[in-house]
Structures are given as structure tokens and as C-alpha cells.
Assembly symmetry: D2
Homo-oligomer: 365 residues x 4
């Protein structure tokens, strides 16, 4: 099988690098186009990434020799598209929100699908915010999106913030099993890689935790409602529930976001054992389709008293599985648990690649 | 003024050392008796603490030369008491709970007051669990305790677990101001010094957080109810509220416990501004009496978006003040905030010393 | 091909676990016998390791169900040996040095070869201390060892301390290329996993480094001389050079020992470029034989100004390659460089497995 | 006594803040003038430092309300000087080296003495690079400096790099006692605060050490030669010895630089006991004059096997004392030891304040 040629926008940044690293030896996709800021444009990727490559794992050898293009110059991507080097792009752009919004639209308008990691279009109401196992049905908004904007082949899909991955899928699995979730208090302990690079200063975080991440609580409270929403005629309509209160902390951990969750059900309340059973047996469309990047089980239930832990569980099943443990009753709401996901894999590039695999299997790529 | 001679039980342990360090140059108390396990007995304190002294600050010079006594041998303390070297003891014993319980009772029965840091007697119903600014009135149980047990001069008082300090005083200040607190969800981020020494293995906590501390959630949920309770005829009767749900995490921080709190009021609900005002102006008996170890303001309100932080705020006002910040509405319950206290000072030895100062000012020592 | 059945002594400890984890899916060896302290004996491995398994990677599924034997009871291993479940053992025993010495001899005397990670027999003069790429010729001492001790099939080989791996192979490569190394000053920055579990207390190492590791400087200075020595009639005779001065530090790093080295050559002195060439092209017997655990290149030369680093380079080539960088002249001696190796893989279990592969290829196993 | 009014240039930076914090309640000096980049100019210091104040300790209350001036505008400082608000300045400027050089000269030319922390003028041959206890005699170059440059009241003095403090004073004490030091190999383990703010990215240093700090090895090797040099007719002439080889590492420690040192003496070689005696009894001019910021003993000898350590020893004697331990023979050179100093106090602002106190006592301020 010939691989589908893909581009990565923002290829020299933290998430861009993670894309290149995870796409090495990918069975379906092959990176043939890389773009970044004008500062990097014209250099080989090897030169542009010199002294900035953060991963132990490397991209495909051929990527080092690709010439970095200016991400602002859509015409270069279009040329690549036409000569068969860029069927679609992963966007890991790092710029102002409005610039990203306009630029991603320009790619889509030019006929190049955009699978984005950026937050710019998360609240655009005809853009789906996908978690493969939760709301793959939101892909159905794409024809509407194209019609709204008169795009023929291009479109934009986004993924949610890294902080929500560790509780939205468990939440959804409960809802899918027939239990309403009304309210939720979540406290996150988030890794420094979530802040990009250079990100958090070591002086601020060594021997410390920081009880604030700019904009993170809002995202953690609101994004789940869109993800759990439904496709109406012209837009995705948010779910009305659950009401969420998020306390977001930065902690001195390299990778892996933890979430301590207390939640309240509607009148039907599952037992702890039922919850474990629901989560252990939960499977989504990516599992059904056996997508290359899909974890075997989206949620791994840990029975140990002190798990999940970032260091021990972040890499579970290619760092794509969510680990959930400490499942127990809550004296204030109904149920408590701790969720954990790898923020730069499941919560960023890995999640984006899974979205692309899903789009391919549905014929959009 | 002649200083009151005091003893420290468990003097070589983590909290014992903190007592010695904080009592250096204390205006009222002077350490003249140290006791520890039989293994250390007979050595000078300097010898016994060799290679195990964890603090930058030192005890009074004379302490290094004290001969360590066997803490199990109450008769040695009684001799010291009679010759004027041990008017009362701070207990930082590290043994089985039942052994501590019996041993502290033996000291009290022998006529030596025990100001304890241990958890053994926290749920003994005629033993007060004191936070100076909150429930100094519980000292009134001492005559009842003595009568119950036919002790003449001895008695036992304890202090609560280090995890509750960062939210109980703020909670109490609100209650004192007339606002009922019905329910509370709290997630703690606790420093490794809270686990004693050697405590948490570095392999477990470097680049990691651990979502479990044995017994800590139960203490964090239940102890506030006794602290907020009242003295009845024979015992301290627990408060009925608030209902508390605690998620306790260990984090790679040396000192300083943080708490992310969501709370629900009764029908009267203060505004964020009122809460700030209540906390900033809150003063307790230790402040009124200007006790040497009392912080000027028990609660310091931080206005910065990202405070309090363990590293920057744990040492506030001799590490005895609680810092509270991020005071904001909660979408699920009513109010959110982050509290922080120094776990081995305010939450352990410093809190014990403040209790002793209070007892002295009330004539019990 | 039928796999060779192996036993692991000390299977529940830190290094024992690393053996089990690295032997998962090994092409030649299969763990069929596990032994530990009497405390664990009789439990399944799963039970014995509950709450103590430190690795993200797991052993072969079948290992979880093996019954743990008492490591002190050689007769159980002999039974296993006879029924074809234990052709030889990896020793990761954690006991007193004399006990390990005697116990390893008892296994060997019973006819079970011992490939040891322990330090007990490192200075036994007919026991080889092997680094596959450096002194595989020391295997020739085995027939002498057997004769000295009247053992028929059994024998003991050991591997050196984890601290020396990052500089002995680079050193040897230079010597092999014809350059005498006369003197060497080395400062190590060693990971906490080198101290086993629970090992270093988090309170001691968070926000700190410790300039002392008990016994480590002696090992770091003396072991290279035996490794670089030669087999004489009855024993391994130490090399006379280089003279080594070691400063050993513990640092808050999970895995990966770094070494800052200044060294002095004899009259012939290679240029920096020659050193890089020698190291890049260096290959040993494990590479020649293409042993399963051998890294492709034993020494990876890094050209970046700030490499090697523990976090980025410890896992190079299955964590079996040594990374060397910052190769530059030394104003006091002749040459400086920084070496790095993974202390629990290359420096412990991985090194032991490579030794066993070498012994198999030479017909001793 | 009226306090001397001082200015701080670069007052919002990391070292500038450390100056303000250490000058709180200083018995001789009082901060009355603060200057920083044009971006901060015109704001109160409180506004300019909002969200950037890194210290637990605060400046004098009055400092918060000072208006920040543009550090490039010497005329503002001159106005302040004339109205009695700025007798001299501490320079903690953070700009390009050439700009700092020119700007410090402009202040001096305008008649305002500059006590600098910057590296710009360290190699200007009529500018003394002072460590109070080592080369206070270099102050004698000031009249020559003034004459060379036709300055009347102004002058410039600098202090050396933070990395050299932990070994230069011990070195000097040995030289002063009559022992030549010929060669020295030093490996440093340096705290992140040495890189300023934001400085080292947390992703780079969590669970890692970095074997490279740009420019640091050169400074560590060369600056001691100027410090140990002597004042000739027109310039400071470098010492010829010792030859130094430095390996500089960044480690995940907040504050405190450690140095592992091997050194070689001339023909006379002191015993370990003599070295301890020399260091313990060493006193310099700051001690003789009992300067406010001078530590009682410049070098504290630690006898414990595992000291000095950053976390336990950095704050010794107001963080101004150097701690030295692990004094033992070196198998390659002659003597080994570990030195430690607080890099932002002794190694930066505290060292600068001590220099100013010395200059005042010698009549230059």
C-alpha cells in the first residue's frame, strides 16, 4: 500500500516534533511536507531542529532532509498537494489565536484538510472537536462545514485540550451505559510538557506546584460539553450537562496529566463495581476499526490503591490509553476516581493522528 | 523570666527535630529533656542525631549535649520533672498507635502534661484536638479529662493531621462570620516531609505524583468535625457539618501542603469580596494573647492569580500563617479557593508549640 | 529453537525486576525459575511483587504465575535444573556480601552457572568481571575457576559496578587503538535507581545533590583495573594503569549515570578528532557475534554542545549504548569528555544478560 | 547614623531582586533609586515587579513605591545623586555585554561609583574583580582606574562569576598559608537560579542534568587567575597559576553551586588535617572589619561524610559562608574536596553588597 503523504504545520515546535516522532513508521501516513515560522523556512528540518529536538524517539530518517517551508505560505502546501506530497496537514501551529484561525481556514479553503491540535477553532460551531472513542459521529458535520464555507475538499477538525482527556472518555463511557452525569468537580495535576517549550521556568516549578494555568480551567469546564454534544442541522450543539468545576495545577512532572474527579449522577447511580466493568469493557469506533494508533482498551482500570501514576501509567498502550483508578464512593457527590493520560501523546499529537486515521476510514482523507 | 523546662519525646525523629529546631531561643520554653527509642538512649543528642539531622536551623547548643533517655521509661521523665528539668513534654513519638496511646497516658498519669503531635489520641473523646485560632475553647475539656481518669496534674492535648491545616482555619473563619458550610470537596497536594524520614522513596516521587496517602483521606474528612465540635459535659461532641470529600496526593515538594477546595454554603452565601475580608481580618485567641509563635494574621489572602505556592508561601510569618488565594465562585458548589500551610511547622511542631503557649497562658502549664 | 530456561535470584528486588522485564520475549532465554527471600517464598510472583513492581514494562505473562522459591535453598534450584527449568541463574541477590558470596558458590558447586550482578565476587581473583565489549577474553578463566574449586559445570561470572560503565568502554577503546591512558579524574552524577529500592529518601534528594555514595568511589577507582587486566595462569591480574580519582555524586535523576572525565595519555596523544573516530568505529565481540542484547554501536558520539544527557540519551539503542560527548582538550590533563550509560540496563540487568549471551555463544551455557 | 542612599540597576531582574531583598534593613545602605529597562520605567516598583518577584523575603516597604527609572538614562541617576538619593549603584544589568560595558562606564564617568555583578568589565585590566576575603588589596587599583579614565569620583568594581566562589576562597586560604597550588580539576553542579529568569526550561532539567553551561567553563578557569593576581603600576596582573580544568553541569537544584575539586600542590603539600585547620581558622578583611554582610567564618569545614549539600548548607551564615567537606587525598593529583556556596547570595548580590561595605570602610563610598 502506498502511504498517504502528510504535512505538519508548526513542525519545529513541541507538538510538531511529537507528530514527527509518532508518525515514524506509521503504516498509513508518511511525512513529506514540513512547515514552520519564516525563521526556519529554507533550512533542512535537521538544521531547523538543531538543539531543539526534545524526544528520545526520532522521525523517519527522510524527514531530517526535508526543506522547511513557511507555514504562512499556503501556496507552497498547495504545490506540494498537487505534486502528491501533502494530502492533508496536521496543524500544530504556535501563533496568536486569530492568526491560527485564519491560516487554518486558508489551508482548508485551498483544498487541504486540516487536522488541528490548536485551540483556535475549538469553538467554531461547525468544526468538530473529536475524541475518537467519544464523538466520532461529529465527523458528520464536515459536509455541513464545507457547505457553509463553500469548500470542496478541505475541512477543519480539531481535538480538545490535553487536560480533559483523562476524564471525558470515562465520563462518556458512563453516559453511554445509561447513567446521567450531572455535576463534576475535578482537580488536575498537569505535566510541564503541556506548556510547550520553553514553557514553565525551572525556578518556578522545582520543589513547587503552581495552582494556576492560564485559560486551562475554562477549557476543562467547557470543552466536554461540546464533545458530549450532538450534530444538529448546521452546527454542533453543546450538551447541557454535566456542570464542571475545574482546579488546574502545574506539577513538576515531565509528561502525564492526572485528574482527581468527584462526580454526581442523576437518579440512577452505578455501583463501584459496575463502573469498573463499564470502563474495562468500553470500546469505541477506533477499537472497532482497529485503527493503527488506537489503544486496545481506551480505559485501563487499575486496582492498586496508589495508581494511576504519571510515571508508571502514562505510557500505557502506546501512551494512548487512559488509566483510571481509586474508584470509590464520594461522600459529597456520588463517585470518585483518578484519571490519567499522556498529555503530548493521547492529549496532543497521538490524539490528532487517531483523528486522521478515523477520517481516512470514513473516506474524508 | 525563668524559662519553663520542657521535654521532647521522639526527639530524634523528623518532627522531634523540628520541635528542637523551633524551640531554639524560645522566649518561654527551654528543652532540657530529650527521649527517643532504646536504641538512642544513653547517647548524647549529638551522637544520636549524627547523620540524621534534617534541618538547616539548629537546636539550642545545650541540647546537643543532653543525654537521650528511653522514651518508654516514664520514671526518667518523672525524675527530670521532680528536679525541675521537665515541666511537660511534647510528644513526637513514632511507634504503633496503641503503644503511643498507652505511653502518652502513662506520662499524663505520672503528672506530666503531654502536648502531642501523634494521631493516637485524636479520637479519644475527652482529649482536645487543638488549632489555636479555631477551638481554643476545647481546652475546657481538660478538667473533665483529669476527672475521668483521676489524673491530678497531667493531661493530654493533641493537634490534628497536617493535611487539614490549610482549609480548617479558613473554614472556621467563615463559620464564625455566620456562614454555614454544608459540604466540601478538597484535593490536597502534599509535601514529602509529611511522610517522615526516610518516608517516600525518591524513585517513587521524582517526575511523578502519587494519588494516595495511606489513611490521609479519612483524617482529612473526619478530623475537622471534631475540631469544629463543642465541649459537652463529658466529651467533645463532633460538629454535624460540613460533609467532606478528600482526594490526597503526594507531590515532589519538600515542604508545604496545598489544598484545592470547593465548598457549599447554607442559604446565606458570602461574596468573594466578603470572604477575602473575613479571612484578612480574622484573628484568634493566639493573636489576641500575642503568643510568641502565633502569626500576626492567621490567614494571609493572596491576590495574585497563581498564588499561594508551596515554595513562595510556606514560610509566611514564621511558617505559621495559612495562605489562601484563587478565591472565586465554584460552578458546582459555591466557592473555590486554594489554601497552603507549612506541614512540619504550622502542621506539626509549630502547631504543637502554639498549643503549649496557649495552655500556659490559660494556666495549665 | 527451544529457549534456554533461566532462573533469577533476588527476583523481587529492583535489579531482579529489571531482569524479568528485559528478559520478556528474549529470543534465547526464558525465565522459568524465580527465587527471593524466605518472606516471598511460596507466593506466586504476582503476589510477591504486588505493590513493588517498579517498571512500565512487564515480564513474560507466565512469570507472574511462577511460585517464588527461597533463594537460600539451592536444592530447589537443583530440582528445577534437573527437570529442565533452570539451566543457569542470574543473581541479583540483595543480602550481606559474605552471604551472597557463599550462596553464589553453593549454586555453582551444585552445577548451576551464576551470572551475577552482585559485588560479592568482583574481587575473587578467578572470577571474571565482564563488560562484553571490553574483556570477553576473561571468560578463559572459567576452566581455571572450575579446576581451582573442583566444580564441573557450575561457575561464577560477575559484572562491574554501574558507575564505571560510562567511562571504561571509552577508555578501553582508546587503549585498544594504541593509546596508553595513565591517569583519570572522574566526577559522576548518578541516578537514584542505582541505590535500589527504597534507596534514597526523597527528602534527601529533592532540590539537592549529595556528594557521597558509600563505597562507590573505591569501586569506581579499582574495578576498571581488573576489567583492563589479563588472564594469567591462575587468576586475573590487574592492569597497572590508569590511576583513577573518582568523585561520586547522587543527583535527582531517575535513571542514567553521567561521568565528567579528564584523562591523561602516555607519550602518544590522540587528537579530539581521532578520539571521535576511534569511539564511533569501535566494535566488540558482542557486535561481531550480533548478540541479541548488544547495541549496534557500543559508543555513540554526540556532537551537540550539551549532550549526552540522562533524560535524552539513557535509552539509546535499547539502553545498552554508552553515549559520549563534549570531547575536548583538558587544560590540566590531556582530554575531557562526558560519558553516560543507563545504570539499571547497561549498568545492571542488561549488562548481565549480555554476559550470559556471550557465555552461551562461547559454549559455557 | 544616616544610611547611605543606593541605587540598583536592573532592579526587576533576578539578581536585582536579590539585591533589594538582601538590602532590606541593611544597617548602612538604603535603596532609594531603582532602574530597569524602558519597559518598566515610569511604573512603581510594585507594578513593575508584579508577577515576577521570586523571593520569599521582601525589600524594604518603601521600595515598592519607588518609581522605576530607565537604566539607560544616566541623567536620572545623576539627578538622584545630586538630591542625595543615590550615592552609588549596584549594577545587575541584563543586556548585551558591550552595552553594559558602555553604560557602567557612563555612570562612573558621571561620578557615580558602580559595584557590578555583571561580567562585562571582569577582564578590563584596571577594574578589580573582588572577593572580599581574597583580594581586597585590589581596591588599590581604583585611583589608577580613575586616573586612566579621568574620572573624579566614579569607578567600577566587579565581582566574579557565581561558579568560582565555592573553590577560590578555599584555594586562596591554602596559598596564603604558604602552599602553592599548581593545577586543579573542578566539576561543578550548578543550581538553576544561576541562569536567571526564566532561565532553564523545566522540560530540560526535570529528571535530568545538563553537562554544559554556555561560557561557564571559560569563566571558571580564567577568573581565578585575575582574582589571585596582583596590582601593578597600571593594571591587575594575572597570577600564573593554578592551571584549571572545569566541567560545568546544570542540575535540578534551586540554589547552591557545588564543586568537586582535585588539586595539585607544589613541592610543599599540606596534610588533610592541616587543610582543615587552615580553612577553619581562615579570616579575611571583611571579618577583621566585622562588615555587616561578612560571614563569621568565610569557610565552614564539614566533617560529615556526605556534606556539604546544596539544600542543607547553602544558607550557612546568611548564605555568605562557603562550606567545604569531603577533604581527602586525591590518587591522581594531591587533594580532593567538595565546596559549596549560595550562588545568588554569596555568588551574586550578597557578594556585591560585601564589596560595597568593603569600599565604604576603605573610604571609596
Amino acid at each position: 500500500m502506498t502511504k498517504i503523504p502528510v504535512g505538519v504545520l508548526g513542525a519545529t515546535g513541541m507538538v510538531g516534533q511529537q507528530y514527527l516522532s509518532l508518525l515514524a513508521n506509521h503504516p498509513w501516513f508518511e511525512v513529506r511536507y514540513v512547515a514552520a515560522s519564516p525563521r526556519s523556512a529554507g533550512k533542512t528540518y535537521k538544521e531547523a531542529a538543531a538543539g531543539r529536538w526534545h524526544h528520545a524517539a526520532n522521525p523517519d530518517e527522510a524527514v531530517w532532509d526535508l526543506t522547511v517551508q513557511d507555514a504562512n505560505d499556503v501556496s507552497r502546501a498547495l504545490d506540494a498537494n498537487r505534486r502528491g506530497d501533502c494530502a492533508f496537514v496536521f496543524s500544530a501551529l504556535e501563533m496568536g489565536k486569530d492568526e491560527i484561525k485564519a491560516l487554518e481556514e486558508a489551508y482548508a479553503a485551498a483544498g487541504i484538510p486540516v487536522v488541528s491540535n490548536a485551540s483556535a477553532h475549538r469553538w467554531t460551531d461547525d468544526v468538530p472537536m473529536l475524541i475518537g472513542e467519544v464523538n466520532s459521529s461529529h465527523i458528520d458535520i464536515i459536509p455541513i462545514q464545507r457547505k457553509n464555507r463553500r469548500w470542496d475538499r478541505g475541512f477543519i477538525v480539531v481535538k480538545p485540550n490535553c487536560s480533559v482527556q483523562s476524564y471525558v472518555t470515562p465520563l462518556y463511557a458512563l453516559i453511554e451505559a445509561g447513567y446521567e452525569v450531572k455535576r463534576l468537580v475535578v482537580t488536575t495535576l498537569q505535566a510541564v510538557s503541556g506548556a510547550g517549550y520553553p514553557g514553565v521556568a525551572s525556578l518556578d516549578i522545582l520543589d513547587n506546584t503552581i495552582p494556576y494555568i492560564n485559560g486551562e480551567e475554562e477549557k476543562s469546564e467547557q470543552e466536554p460539553l461540546k464533545i458530549l454534544g450532538s450534530v444538529s442541522e448546521n452546527a454542533i450543539v453543546n450538551a447541557a450537562e454535566p456542570r464542571i468545576s475545574a482546579h488546574c495545577n502545574r506539577v513538576p512532572v515531565s509528561d502525564g496529566h492526572s485528574a482527581c474527579v468527584s462526580l454526581e449522577f442523576g437518579s440512577r447511580k452505578p455501583s463501584v463495581e459496575e463502573v469498573k466493568k463499564i470502563w474495562s469493557s468500553f470500546r469505541g469506533l477506533p477499537q472497532e476499526l482497529q485503527l493503527p494508533t488506537a489503544p486496545g482498551r481506551p480505559i485501563i482500570v487499575r486496582e492498586e490503591a496508589d495508581r494511576p501514576q504519571a510515571k508508571k501509567d502514562r505510557d500505557a498502550d502506546k501512551a494512548m490509553a487512559i488509566s483510571a483508578g481509586r474508584i470509590r464512593p464520594c461522600p459529597v457527590l456520588d463517585l470518585r476516581f483518578v484519571g490519567l493520560s499522556h498529555n503530548t501523546v493521547r492529549g496532543a499529537a497521538g490524539g490528532g493522528i487517531l483523528n486522521a486515521e478515523l477520517l481516512k476510514s470514513r473516506g474524508y482523507i
